[in-house]
Protein backbone atom coordinates (compact mmCIF):
# COMPACT_ATOMS: atom_id res chain seq x y z
CA UNK A 1 0.00 0.00 0.00
CA UNK A 2 2.80 2.41 0.97
CA UNK A 3 4.63 1.72 -2.25
CA UNK A 4 1.57 2.59 -4.30
CA UNK A 5 1.22 5.92 -2.52
CA UNK A 6 4.94 6.65 -2.93
CA UNK A 7 4.70 5.80 -6.63
CA UNK A 8 1.71 8.12 -7.06
CA UNK A 9 3.51 10.92 -5.22
CA UNK A 10 6.63 10.45 -7.33
CA UNK A 11 4.62 10.66 -10.54
CA UNK A 12 2.87 13.81 -9.30
CA UNK A 13 6.12 15.69 -8.60
CA UNK A 14 7.19 16.31 -12.23
CA UNK A 15 3.79 17.85 -13.03
CA UNK A 16 4.21 20.22 -10.08
CA UNK A 17 7.55 21.27 -11.44
CA UNK A 18 6.07 21.96 -14.84
CA UNK A 19 3.01 23.88 -13.65
CA UNK A 20 4.57 27.19 -12.44
CA UNK A 21 6.42 28.13 -15.66
CA UNK A 22 3.29 27.65 -17.73
CA UNK A 23 1.31 29.92 -15.41
CA UNK A 24 4.00 32.65 -15.46
CA UNK A 25 3.75 33.22 -19.23
CA UNK A 26 0.44 35.11 -19.19
CA UNK A 27 -0.87 36.91 -22.23
CA UNK A 28 -0.29 40.41 -20.88
CA UNK A 29 1.90 43.39 -21.60
CA UNK A 30 2.28 46.39 -19.31
CA UNK A 31 3.34 49.56 -21.11
CA UNK A 32 4.64 52.63 -19.32
CA UNK A 33 4.60 55.68 -21.58
CA UNK A 34 3.60 59.34 -21.89
CA UNK A 35 -0.12 59.57 -22.51
CA UNK A 36 -1.28 60.31 -26.05
CA UNK A 37 2.05 59.04 -27.32
CA UNK A 38 0.90 55.71 -28.71
CA UNK A 39 -2.24 55.34 -30.83
CA UNK A 40 -4.91 53.27 -29.04
CA UNK A 41 -5.89 51.71 -32.39
CA UNK A 42 -2.34 50.47 -32.85
CA UNK A 43 -2.42 48.72 -29.48
CA UNK A 44 -5.82 47.22 -30.31
CA UNK A 45 -4.36 45.85 -33.54
CA UNK A 46 -1.43 44.37 -31.58
CA UNK A 47 -3.92 42.68 -29.27
CA UNK A 48 -5.88 41.32 -32.22
CA UNK A 49 -2.78 40.01 -33.99
CA UNK A 50 -1.04 38.45 -31.00
CA UNK A 51 -3.77 37.88 -28.42
CA UNK A 52 -1.71 39.74 -25.83
CA UNK A 53 -3.69 42.17 -23.70
CA UNK A 54 -1.99 45.56 -23.32
CA UNK A 55 -2.35 47.95 -20.39
CA UNK A 56 -1.02 51.49 -20.61
CA UNK A 57 0.15 53.54 -17.64
CA UNK A 58 1.56 57.00 -17.93
CA UNK A 59 4.21 59.40 -16.65
CA UNK A 60 4.91 63.06 -17.36
CA UNK A 61 8.72 63.27 -17.64
CA UNK A 62 11.72 60.99 -18.03
CA UNK A 63 12.80 62.00 -14.54
CA UNK A 64 9.53 60.81 -12.95
CA UNK A 65 9.77 57.48 -14.73
CA UNK A 66 13.38 57.10 -13.66
CA UNK A 67 12.56 57.99 -10.05
CA UNK A 68 9.81 55.41 -9.90
CA UNK A 69 11.95 52.63 -11.36
CA UNK A 70 14.90 53.52 -9.14
CA UNK A 71 12.73 53.39 -6.02
CA UNK A 72 11.75 49.85 -6.94
CA UNK A 73 8.33 50.61 -8.38
CA UNK A 74 7.67 48.48 -11.36
CA UNK A 75 5.84 45.64 -12.85
CA UNK A 76 6.12 47.37 -16.22
CA UNK A 77 7.28 45.44 -19.24
CA UNK A 78 8.07 48.29 -21.63
CA UNK A 79 9.15 51.85 -20.83
CA UNK A 80 9.86 54.72 -23.24
CA UNK A 81 12.96 56.70 -22.22
CA UNK A 82 14.62 59.46 -24.24
CA UNK A 83 18.25 58.96 -25.31
CA UNK A 84 20.20 60.50 -22.40
CA UNK A 85 17.88 58.75 -19.92
CA UNK A 86 18.65 55.44 -21.63
CA UNK A 87 22.33 56.03 -20.97
CA UNK A 88 21.65 56.66 -17.32
CA UNK A 89 19.42 53.62 -17.01
CA UNK A 90 22.02 51.35 -18.59
CA UNK A 91 24.62 52.72 -16.19
CA UNK A 92 22.33 52.08 -13.21
CA UNK A 93 21.54 48.57 -14.40
CA UNK A 94 17.82 49.25 -14.78
CA UNK A 95 17.37 47.78 -18.26
CA UNK A 96 17.29 44.23 -19.58
CA UNK A 97 19.47 43.29 -22.53
CA UNK A 98 17.07 42.46 -25.32
CA UNK A 99 19.62 42.40 -28.15
CA UNK A 100 17.44 44.40 -30.50
CA UNK A 101 20.09 44.33 -33.23
CA UNK A 102 19.34 40.65 -33.82
CA UNK A 103 15.57 40.91 -33.90
CA UNK A 104 13.96 39.98 -37.25
CA UNK A 105 12.65 43.50 -38.00
CA UNK A 106 15.85 45.31 -37.07
CA UNK A 107 16.90 45.42 -40.73
CA UNK A 108 14.25 48.14 -41.22
CA UNK A 109 15.94 50.62 -38.89
CA UNK A 110 17.42 53.62 -40.71
CA UNK A 111 20.87 55.03 -40.10
CA UNK A 112 21.98 56.70 -37.83
CA UNK A 113 19.33 55.30 -35.51
CA UNK A 114 20.71 51.77 -35.69
CA UNK A 115 23.78 52.57 -33.63
CA UNK A 116 23.25 55.54 -31.34
CA UNK A 117 25.75 56.94 -28.83
CA UNK A 118 23.54 56.17 -25.86
CA UNK A 119 23.04 52.46 -26.73
CA UNK A 120 25.87 51.21 -28.96
CA UNK A 121 24.77 48.28 -31.06
CA UNK A 122 21.17 48.63 -29.82
CA UNK A 123 21.60 46.03 -27.08
CA UNK A 124 18.86 47.44 -24.87
CA UNK A 125 16.52 49.60 -26.90
CA UNK A 126 14.49 49.94 -30.07
CA UNK A 127 13.97 53.40 -31.64
CA UNK A 128 10.50 54.87 -31.36
CA UNK A 129 9.82 58.51 -32.27
CA UNK A 130 12.50 61.10 -32.92
CA UNK A 131 12.31 64.84 -33.23
CA UNK A 132 14.30 68.00 -33.61
CA UNK A 133 14.26 71.38 -31.93
CA UNK A 134 14.47 74.34 -34.27
CA UNK A 135 13.01 77.80 -34.74
CA UNK A 136 9.43 78.39 -35.80
CA UNK A 137 8.40 81.86 -36.98
CA UNK A 138 5.47 83.56 -38.63
CA UNK A 139 6.61 84.42 -42.15
CA UNK A 140 3.82 86.99 -42.46
CA UNK A 141 5.63 89.19 -39.96
CA UNK A 142 8.82 89.53 -41.98
CA UNK A 143 9.09 91.41 -45.28
CA UNK A 144 9.97 88.81 -47.89
CA UNK A 145 8.90 86.04 -45.53
CA UNK A 146 12.39 84.61 -45.05
CA UNK A 147 14.96 84.87 -42.30
CA UNK A 148 18.52 83.63 -42.03
CA UNK A 149 18.77 79.97 -41.03
CA UNK A 150 20.84 80.74 -37.99
CA UNK A 151 20.35 80.83 -34.21
CA UNK A 152 21.18 84.51 -34.50
CA UNK A 153 17.55 85.19 -35.46
CA UNK A 154 16.46 83.82 -32.09
CA UNK A 155 19.16 85.15 -29.79
CA UNK A 156 19.67 88.56 -31.44
CA UNK A 157 16.22 89.06 -32.88
CA UNK A 158 15.27 91.66 -35.44
CA UNK A 159 12.75 94.31 -34.46
CA UNK A 160 9.77 92.50 -36.02
CA UNK A 161 10.15 89.70 -33.49
CA UNK A 162 11.52 91.62 -30.53
CA UNK A 163 9.26 91.11 -27.49
CA UNK A 164 7.23 88.49 -29.35
CA UNK A 165 9.36 85.41 -28.79
CA UNK A 166 8.68 82.26 -26.79
CA UNK A 167 11.45 80.04 -25.48
CA UNK A 168 10.99 76.49 -24.23
CA UNK A 169 11.36 76.37 -20.47
CA UNK A 170 13.69 73.45 -20.92
CA UNK A 171 17.20 73.83 -19.55
CA UNK A 172 18.77 71.39 -21.99
CA UNK A 173 17.18 72.87 -25.12
CA UNK A 174 17.95 76.50 -24.34
CA UNK A 175 21.50 75.88 -23.14
CA UNK A 176 22.49 73.71 -26.10
CA UNK A 177 20.94 76.08 -28.65
CA UNK A 178 23.00 78.92 -27.19
CA UNK A 179 26.08 76.67 -27.13
CA UNK A 180 25.66 75.83 -30.83
CA UNK A 181 25.30 79.51 -31.74
CA UNK A 182 28.49 80.41 -29.88
CA UNK A 183 30.32 77.44 -31.37
CA UNK A 184 30.67 75.51 -28.10
CA UNK A 185 30.14 71.80 -27.57
CA UNK A 186 26.73 70.85 -26.13
CA UNK A 187 28.48 69.07 -23.25
CA UNK A 188 30.73 71.94 -22.25
CA UNK A 189 31.58 72.20 -18.59
CA UNK A 190 34.00 75.13 -18.93
CA UNK A 191 32.96 78.02 -16.68
CA UNK A 192 34.10 80.69 -19.22
CA UNK A 193 31.88 79.19 -21.88
CA UNK A 194 29.01 78.95 -19.41
CA UNK A 195 29.50 82.62 -18.61
CA UNK A 196 29.33 83.59 -22.29
CA UNK A 197 26.16 81.54 -22.73
CA UNK A 198 24.60 83.22 -19.71
CA UNK A 199 25.45 86.66 -21.09
CA UNK A 200 23.86 85.79 -24.44
CA UNK A 201 20.69 84.52 -22.79
CA UNK A 202 20.46 87.49 -20.45
CA UNK A 203 20.84 89.87 -23.38
CA UNK A 204 18.03 88.03 -25.14
CA UNK A 205 15.77 87.98 -22.10
CA UNK A 206 13.99 91.35 -22.65
CA UNK A 207 13.07 90.20 -26.14
CA UNK A 208 11.37 87.06 -24.84
CA UNK A 209 7.66 87.16 -24.07
CA UNK A 210 7.45 83.87 -22.22
CA UNK A 211 9.48 80.83 -21.15
CA UNK A 212 7.16 77.83 -21.37
CA UNK A 213 7.49 74.31 -22.75
CA UNK A 214 3.80 73.47 -22.55
CA UNK A 215 1.18 74.35 -25.11
CA UNK A 216 3.76 75.52 -27.64
CA UNK A 217 1.63 74.36 -30.56
CA UNK A 218 -1.27 76.48 -29.37
CA UNK A 219 0.87 79.47 -28.53
CA UNK A 220 2.33 79.56 -32.03
CA UNK A 221 -0.88 78.53 -33.77
CA UNK A 222 -2.94 81.24 -32.08
CA UNK A 223 -0.44 83.92 -32.94
CA UNK A 224 0.34 84.71 -29.33
CA UNK A 225 4.01 84.85 -30.28
CA UNK A 226 5.67 85.39 -33.65
CA UNK A 227 8.72 83.21 -33.02
CA UNK A 228 9.16 80.07 -30.94
CA UNK A 229 12.01 77.73 -30.03
CA UNK A 230 10.01 74.65 -30.90
CA UNK A 231 9.85 70.88 -31.23
CA UNK A 232 9.07 69.87 -34.81
CA UNK A 233 6.03 67.76 -33.94
CA UNK A 234 4.50 70.68 -32.05
CA UNK A 235 5.29 72.88 -35.05
CA UNK A 236 3.38 70.53 -37.32
CA UNK A 237 0.30 70.98 -35.15
CA UNK A 238 0.78 74.75 -34.97
CA UNK A 239 1.13 74.90 -38.76
CA UNK A 240 -2.34 73.38 -39.14
CA UNK A 241 -3.74 76.53 -37.51
CA UNK A 242 -1.25 79.12 -38.76
CA UNK A 243 -0.46 78.44 -42.40
CA UNK A 244 2.21 81.12 -42.56
CA UNK A 245 4.31 79.47 -39.85
CA UNK A 246 7.70 78.23 -41.04
CA UNK A 247 10.22 75.90 -39.37
CA UNK A 248 13.95 76.32 -39.90
CA UNK A 249 16.97 74.18 -39.06
CA UNK A 250 19.69 76.61 -37.89
CA UNK A 251 22.99 75.81 -39.57
CA UNK A 252 25.05 75.91 -36.37
CA UNK A 253 23.37 72.76 -35.09
CA UNK A 254 19.93 71.36 -34.28
CA UNK A 255 19.16 69.10 -31.32
CA UNK A 256 18.13 65.61 -32.34
CA UNK A 257 16.37 63.72 -29.60
CA UNK A 258 14.93 60.25 -29.80
CA UNK A 259 12.53 58.26 -27.66
CA UNK A 260 13.13 54.54 -27.39
CA UNK A 261 11.34 51.41 -26.28
CA UNK A 262 13.15 49.49 -23.56
CA UNK A 263 12.47 46.62 -21.17
CA UNK A 264 13.15 47.35 -17.49
CA UNK A 265 14.64 44.79 -15.11
CA UNK A 266 11.83 43.18 -13.15
CA UNK A 267 9.53 42.95 -16.16
CA UNK A 268 7.24 40.00 -15.82
CA UNK A 269 6.36 39.40 -19.46
CA UNK A 270 9.77 39.61 -21.11
CA UNK A 271 8.93 37.50 -24.17
CA UNK A 272 5.80 39.56 -24.86
CA UNK A 273 7.85 42.73 -24.46
CA UNK A 274 10.42 41.53 -27.01
CA UNK A 275 7.59 40.64 -29.37
CA UNK A 276 6.22 44.15 -29.02
CA UNK A 277 9.61 45.75 -29.61
CA UNK A 278 10.07 43.76 -32.77
CA UNK A 279 6.51 44.51 -33.92
CA UNK A 280 7.12 48.27 -33.54
CA UNK A 281 9.99 48.07 -36.04
CA UNK A 282 7.57 47.11 -38.78
CA UNK A 283 7.12 50.04 -41.26
CA UNK A 284 3.32 49.98 -41.16
CA UNK A 285 3.16 50.09 -37.37
CA UNK A 286 5.85 52.75 -37.04
CA UNK A 287 4.00 54.89 -39.58
CA UNK A 288 0.74 54.57 -37.64
CA UNK A 289 2.53 55.80 -34.51
CA UNK A 290 4.00 58.70 -36.49
CA UNK A 291 0.65 59.69 -37.92
CA UNK A 292 -0.74 59.84 -34.40
CA UNK A 293 2.07 61.71 -32.67
CA UNK A 294 3.14 63.87 -35.66
CA UNK A 295 6.79 62.94 -35.05
CA UNK A 296 9.03 61.05 -37.40
CA UNK A 297 10.09 57.45 -36.91
CA UNK A 298 13.34 55.62 -37.61
CA UNK A 299 11.97 52.83 -39.80
CA UNK A 300 12.73 52.68 -43.52
CA UNK A 301 9.73 51.97 -45.69
CA UNK A 302 7.30 53.73 -43.35
CA UNK A 303 7.13 56.68 -45.78
CA UNK A 304 4.66 54.75 -47.87
CA UNK A 305 2.16 54.60 -44.99
CA UNK A 306 2.80 58.09 -43.63
CA UNK A 307 0.05 60.70 -43.65
CA UNK A 308 0.67 62.93 -46.72
CA UNK A 309 0.64 66.09 -44.59
CA UNK A 310 3.48 64.67 -42.51
CA UNK A 311 5.45 63.50 -45.52
CA UNK A 312 5.24 66.91 -47.15
CA UNK A 313 6.12 68.87 -44.02
CA UNK A 314 9.87 69.59 -44.12
CA UNK A 315 9.79 70.04 -40.37
CA UNK A 316 8.82 66.40 -39.87
CA UNK A 317 10.27 64.76 -42.96
CA UNK A 318 13.68 66.40 -42.90
CA UNK A 319 15.16 67.20 -46.32
CA UNK A 320 18.45 65.38 -46.92
CA UNK A 321 20.56 68.54 -47.02
CA UNK A 322 19.51 69.44 -43.50
CA UNK A 323 20.41 66.09 -41.92
CA UNK A 324 24.03 67.17 -41.43
CA UNK A 325 22.86 69.87 -39.00
CA UNK A 326 21.57 67.27 -36.53
CA UNK A 327 23.33 67.07 -33.17
CA UNK A 328 22.16 64.00 -31.25
CA UNK A 329 21.52 64.73 -27.59
CA UNK A 330 24.19 63.24 -25.34
CA UNK A 331 24.21 62.43 -21.65
CA UNK A 332 26.86 64.96 -20.65
CA UNK A 333 27.86 63.90 -17.18
CA UNK A 334 27.68 65.66 -13.85
CA UNK A 335 30.07 68.58 -14.42
CA UNK A 336 28.24 69.71 -17.56
CA UNK A 337 24.87 69.30 -15.86
CA UNK A 338 26.02 71.41 -12.90
CA UNK A 339 27.15 74.18 -15.24
CA UNK A 340 23.82 74.10 -17.04
CA UNK A 341 21.91 74.32 -13.79
CA UNK A 342 23.99 77.28 -12.64
CA UNK A 343 23.35 79.17 -15.87
CA UNK A 344 19.66 78.26 -15.85
CA UNK A 345 18.97 79.35 -12.27
CA UNK A 346 20.82 82.63 -12.80
CA UNK A 347 18.89 83.27 -15.99
CA UNK A 348 15.45 82.64 -14.55
CA UNK A 349 16.01 84.49 -11.30
Amino acid sequence: MRRIILALAASALPSLALAPPAAAQSKELHLFNWSNYMPPDLLKRFEAETGIKVTLDTYDTNESMLAKLQAGGGGYDVVVPTGPTVQQMIRDGLLLKVDAAHMPNFKNVRKPFDNPDFDPGRAYTVPYMWGTTGIAYDSAKVPGGKIEDSWKELFEPRKEFYGNIAMLKDMGEVFTAAAYYLGFDQCTSKPEEGQKILELLEKQKPAVKVYNAEGSADRMGNGEVAMHLMWNGAFHRAHKKLKTAVYIYPREGVNLWGDNLAVPKGAKNVENAKLFLNWMMDPKNAAEASNFTAYNNAIAGSDAYLDPSLREDPAVNTPDDMVSRFRPLRDCGKAALDLRQKVWTRLLR
Binding site: S35, N36, P40, T55, D60, G73, G75, D77
Partner: protein, 263 residues
Protein backbone atom coordinates in the same frame (compact mmCIF):
# COMPACT_ATOMS: atom_id res chain seq x y z
CA UNK B 1 -23.57 85.68 19.45
CA UNK B 2 -23.84 88.35 16.80
CA UNK B 3 -25.85 87.50 13.74
CA UNK B 4 -24.18 86.95 10.39
CA UNK B 5 -26.05 89.95 9.01
CA UNK B 6 -23.59 92.27 10.76
CA UNK B 7 -20.82 91.19 8.42
CA UNK B 8 -22.40 92.93 5.47
CA UNK B 9 -22.23 96.22 7.26
CA UNK B 10 -18.48 96.35 6.65
CA UNK B 11 -17.72 98.40 3.57
CA UNK B 12 -16.50 96.34 0.71
CA UNK B 13 -17.31 93.00 2.33
CA UNK B 14 -19.90 92.22 -0.30
CA UNK B 15 -17.62 93.20 -3.15
CA UNK B 16 -14.74 91.15 -1.80
CA UNK B 17 -17.02 88.15 -1.30
CA UNK B 18 -18.23 88.31 -4.90
CA UNK B 19 -14.69 88.79 -6.18
CA UNK B 20 -13.47 85.71 -4.31
CA UNK B 21 -16.38 83.61 -5.55
CA UNK B 22 -15.74 84.70 -9.13
CA UNK B 23 -12.02 84.00 -8.81
CA UNK B 24 -12.77 80.51 -7.56
CA UNK B 25 -15.49 79.58 -9.99
CA UNK B 26 -14.71 81.30 -13.29
CA UNK B 27 -11.94 78.80 -14.17
CA UNK B 28 -14.36 75.95 -13.59
CA UNK B 29 -17.02 77.61 -15.73
CA UNK B 30 -14.48 78.18 -18.51
CA UNK B 31 -13.42 74.55 -18.21
CA UNK B 32 -16.99 73.35 -18.65
CA UNK B 33 -17.63 75.68 -21.60
CA UNK B 34 -14.42 74.65 -23.37
CA UNK B 35 -15.40 70.99 -23.10
CA UNK B 36 -17.87 71.75 -25.86
CA UNK B 37 -15.22 73.29 -28.08
CA UNK B 38 -14.75 71.81 -31.54
CA UNK B 39 -11.04 72.65 -31.47
CA UNK B 40 -8.12 70.34 -30.78
CA UNK B 41 -6.77 71.81 -27.62
CA UNK B 42 -7.91 72.93 -24.20
CA UNK B 43 -5.76 76.03 -24.42
CA UNK B 44 -7.04 77.27 -27.76
CA UNK B 45 -9.75 79.73 -28.62
CA UNK B 46 -13.36 78.75 -28.96
CA UNK B 47 -13.84 77.12 -32.34
CA UNK B 48 -17.48 76.24 -32.50
CA UNK B 49 -19.84 74.05 -30.56
CA UNK B 50 -19.35 70.31 -30.61
CA UNK B 51 -19.93 67.37 -28.31
CA UNK B 52 -17.36 65.16 -30.00
CA UNK B 53 -14.97 65.16 -27.05
CA UNK B 54 -17.57 63.39 -24.93
CA UNK B 55 -17.59 60.69 -27.57
CA UNK B 56 -13.79 60.56 -27.53
CA UNK B 57 -13.55 59.94 -23.79
CA UNK B 58 -15.97 57.05 -23.93
CA UNK B 59 -13.81 55.46 -26.63
CA UNK B 60 -10.60 56.06 -24.71
CA UNK B 61 -10.22 52.82 -22.76
CA UNK B 62 -7.21 54.05 -20.83
CA UNK B 63 -8.97 57.17 -19.63
CA UNK B 64 -12.07 55.23 -18.61
CA UNK B 65 -9.93 52.76 -16.72
CA UNK B 66 -8.18 55.59 -14.89
CA UNK B 67 -11.56 57.09 -13.94
CA UNK B 68 -12.73 53.72 -12.61
CA UNK B 69 -9.50 53.34 -10.63
CA UNK B 70 -9.78 56.85 -9.20
CA UNK B 71 -13.39 56.40 -8.09
CA UNK B 72 -12.82 52.94 -6.65
CA UNK B 73 -9.74 53.97 -4.69
CA UNK B 74 -11.44 57.16 -3.47
CA UNK B 75 -14.48 55.23 -2.24
CA UNK B 76 -12.38 52.68 -0.38
CA UNK B 77 -10.05 55.31 1.06
CA UNK B 78 -13.02 57.40 2.16
CA UNK B 79 -14.65 54.48 3.97
CA UNK B 80 -11.55 53.09 5.64
CA UNK B 81 -10.02 56.48 6.39
CA UNK B 82 -13.20 57.91 7.89
CA UNK B 83 -13.78 54.82 10.02
CA UNK B 84 -10.28 54.96 11.47
CA UNK B 85 -10.47 58.74 11.86
CA UNK B 86 -13.74 58.43 13.78
CA UNK B 87 -12.16 55.97 16.17
CA UNK B 88 -9.15 58.21 16.56
CA UNK B 89 -11.30 61.27 17.22
CA UNK B 90 -13.39 59.43 19.81
CA UNK B 91 -10.24 58.37 21.60
CA UNK B 92 -8.51 61.74 21.64
CA UNK B 93 -11.36 64.22 22.09
CA UNK B 94 -12.18 65.44 25.55
CA UNK B 95 -9.50 63.37 27.30
CA UNK B 96 -5.98 63.86 28.51
CA UNK B 97 -3.49 61.03 28.44
CA UNK B 98 0.26 60.77 28.37
CA UNK B 99 1.73 61.08 24.93
CA UNK B 100 -1.44 62.65 23.58
CA UNK B 101 0.33 65.41 21.67
CA UNK B 102 2.66 62.85 20.13
CA UNK B 103 -0.31 60.77 19.02
CA UNK B 104 -2.04 63.81 17.56
CA UNK B 105 1.12 64.83 15.73
CA UNK B 106 1.42 61.33 14.32
CA UNK B 107 -2.15 61.43 13.07
CA UNK B 108 -1.53 64.77 11.39
CA UNK B 109 1.82 63.72 9.89
CA UNK B 110 0.59 62.97 6.35
CA UNK B 111 -0.67 66.55 6.10
CA UNK B 112 2.67 68.08 7.05
CA UNK B 113 5.08 65.83 5.17
CA UNK B 114 5.59 66.90 1.53
CA UNK B 115 3.76 64.70 -0.98
CA UNK B 116 6.88 63.52 -2.76
CA UNK B 117 8.60 62.47 0.46
CA UNK B 118 5.56 60.50 1.57
CA UNK B 119 5.22 58.93 -1.88
CA UNK B 120 8.79 57.64 -2.08
CA UNK B 121 8.71 56.50 1.56
CA UNK B 122 5.52 54.49 1.02
CA UNK B 123 6.91 52.99 -2.19
CA UNK B 124 10.14 51.96 -0.49
CA UNK B 125 8.12 50.44 2.35
CA UNK B 126 5.95 48.42 -0.04
CA UNK B 127 8.99 47.17 -1.93
CA UNK B 128 10.77 46.26 1.30
CA UNK B 129 7.80 44.36 2.74
CA UNK B 130 7.09 42.74 -0.61
CA UNK B 131 3.61 44.12 -1.24
CA UNK B 132 2.90 43.94 -4.93
CA UNK B 133 2.06 47.25 -6.54
CA UNK B 134 -1.37 47.57 -8.02
CA UNK B 135 -4.79 48.97 -7.17
CA UNK B 136 -4.60 47.38 -3.71
CA UNK B 137 -1.36 49.16 -2.82
CA UNK B 138 -3.01 52.39 -3.96
CA UNK B 139 -5.99 51.78 -1.69
CA UNK B 140 -3.68 51.12 1.27
CA UNK B 141 -1.68 54.29 0.73
CA UNK B 142 -4.75 56.46 0.16
CA UNK B 143 -6.52 55.08 3.24
CA UNK B 144 -3.56 56.22 5.30
CA UNK B 145 -3.26 59.78 4.10
CA UNK B 146 -7.01 60.42 4.18
CA UNK B 147 -7.12 59.71 7.92
CA UNK B 148 -5.97 63.19 9.02
CA UNK B 149 -8.27 64.79 6.45
CA UNK B 150 -11.29 63.07 7.96
CA UNK B 151 -10.04 63.36 11.55
CA UNK B 152 -10.13 67.14 11.92
CA UNK B 153 -13.85 67.82 11.26
CA UNK B 154 -14.90 64.83 13.38
CA UNK B 155 -12.71 65.91 16.28
CA UNK B 156 -14.06 69.45 16.04
CA UNK B 157 -17.60 68.22 16.11
CA UNK B 158 -16.88 65.97 19.11
CA UNK B 159 -15.36 68.83 21.07
CA UNK B 160 -18.56 70.79 20.58
CA UNK B 161 -20.69 67.96 21.90
CA UNK B 162 -22.37 68.58 25.24
CA UNK B 163 -20.90 65.98 27.66
CA UNK B 164 -24.12 66.03 29.63
CA UNK B 165 -25.88 64.14 26.84
CA UNK B 166 -23.60 61.11 27.14
CA UNK B 167 -23.95 61.20 30.92
CA UNK B 168 -27.74 61.37 30.61
CA UNK B 169 -27.70 58.33 28.36
CA UNK B 170 -25.61 56.41 30.92
CA UNK B 171 -28.08 57.48 33.61
CA UNK B 172 -30.83 55.88 31.59
CA UNK B 173 -29.10 52.49 31.66
CA UNK B 174 -27.46 52.72 28.23
CA UNK B 175 -24.18 50.80 27.97
CA UNK B 176 -21.29 52.57 26.18
CA UNK B 177 -22.06 50.91 22.84
CA UNK B 178 -25.77 51.84 22.94
CA UNK B 179 -24.89 55.34 24.10
CA UNK B 180 -22.53 55.69 21.18
CA UNK B 181 -24.93 54.27 18.63
CA UNK B 182 -28.09 56.10 19.72
CA UNK B 183 -26.73 59.38 21.13
CA UNK B 184 -23.20 60.30 20.08
CA UNK B 185 -23.11 58.97 16.54
CA UNK B 186 -26.26 60.76 15.29
CA UNK B 187 -25.00 63.97 16.85
CA UNK B 188 -21.55 63.86 15.26
CA UNK B 189 -22.88 62.57 11.93
CA UNK B 190 -22.45 65.96 10.15
CA UNK B 191 -18.79 65.93 11.21
CA UNK B 192 -18.31 62.39 9.89
CA UNK B 193 -20.05 63.31 6.65
CA UNK B 194 -17.82 66.31 6.02
CA UNK B 195 -14.77 64.27 7.03
CA UNK B 196 -15.78 61.61 4.54
CA UNK B 197 -16.20 64.20 1.79
CA UNK B 198 -12.80 65.70 2.50
CA UNK B 199 -11.29 62.23 2.42
CA UNK B 200 -12.98 61.44 -0.91
CA UNK B 201 -11.85 64.67 -2.53
CA UNK B 202 -8.36 64.39 -1.12
CA UNK B 203 -7.98 60.91 -2.52
CA UNK B 204 -9.50 61.80 -5.88
CA UNK B 205 -7.17 64.75 -6.38
CA UNK B 206 -3.92 63.14 -5.30
CA UNK B 207 -1.22 62.97 -7.98
CA UNK B 208 2.18 62.34 -6.48
CA UNK B 209 1.46 59.43 -4.16
CA UNK B 210 -0.83 57.84 -6.76
CA UNK B 211 1.90 58.03 -9.36
CA UNK B 212 4.56 56.32 -7.32
CA UNK B 213 2.52 53.71 -5.51
CA UNK B 214 0.37 52.48 -8.40
CA UNK B 215 1.17 49.34 -10.29
CA UNK B 216 0.49 48.38 -13.90
CA UNK B 217 -3.10 49.06 -14.84
CA UNK B 218 -3.65 51.21 -11.76
CA UNK B 219 -3.15 54.70 -13.18
CA UNK B 220 -5.58 57.21 -11.72
CA UNK B 221 -7.22 60.09 -13.58
CA UNK B 222 -5.04 62.95 -12.26
CA UNK B 223 -1.86 61.02 -13.15
CA UNK B 224 -3.24 60.28 -16.63
CA UNK B 225 -4.07 63.94 -17.25
CA UNK B 226 -0.73 65.08 -15.90
CA UNK B 227 1.16 62.88 -18.31
CA UNK B 228 -0.71 64.42 -21.27
CA UNK B 229 1.13 67.67 -20.73
CA UNK B 230 4.09 66.72 -22.88
CA UNK B 231 2.04 65.88 -25.94
CA UNK B 232 -0.78 68.34 -25.47
CA UNK B 233 -3.91 68.55 -23.33
CA UNK B 234 -7.07 67.98 -25.37
CA UNK B 235 -10.65 69.02 -24.52
CA UNK B 236 -11.21 65.36 -23.60
CA UNK B 237 -9.82 66.40 -20.20
CA UNK B 238 -12.39 69.20 -19.99
CA UNK B 239 -15.13 66.72 -20.90
CA UNK B 240 -14.18 64.19 -18.22
CA UNK B 241 -13.81 66.96 -15.64
CA UNK B 242 -17.26 68.30 -16.47
CA UNK B 243 -18.71 64.84 -16.00
CA UNK B 244 -16.95 64.43 -12.65
CA UNK B 245 -18.19 67.84 -11.50
CA UNK B 246 -21.73 66.89 -12.54
CA UNK B 247 -21.38 63.56 -10.71
CA UNK B 248 -20.31 65.21 -7.48
CA UNK B 249 -22.62 68.22 -7.58
CA UNK B 250 -25.78 66.23 -8.33
CA UNK B 251 -25.95 64.26 -5.05
CA UNK B 252 -25.15 67.43 -3.10
CA UNK B 253 -27.98 69.33 -4.76
CA UNK B 254 -30.32 66.37 -4.33
CA UNK B 255 -29.49 66.00 -0.62
CA UNK B 256 -30.06 69.72 -0.11
CA UNK B 257 -33.42 69.63 -1.84
CA UNK B 258 -34.47 66.46 -0.02
CA UNK B 259 -33.32 67.95 3.27
CA UNK B 260 -35.50 70.99 2.65
CA UNK B 261 -38.48 68.86 1.77
CA UNK B 262 -38.26 66.71 4.85
CA UNK B 263 -37.43 69.48 7.32
Amino acid sequence: MKGAGDLWRFRGARAVAYAVLLYLYIPIIVLVILSFSAGDSSLARWEGFSTRWYGVIVEDGDMMRSVRNSLLVALVAMTVGTAIATMAALATARTRFRGQSAVEALIGLPLIVPDIVAAIAILLFFVMVGIELGVTSLMLAHSVFTIPLAYLPIRARLEGLDPALAEAAADLYANPWASFRRVVLPLIWPGIASGAMLAFIGSLGDVVISYFVSGPGATTLPVYVFSMVRVGVTPAVNAISTLLIAASVTPLVLSYLLGRRFR
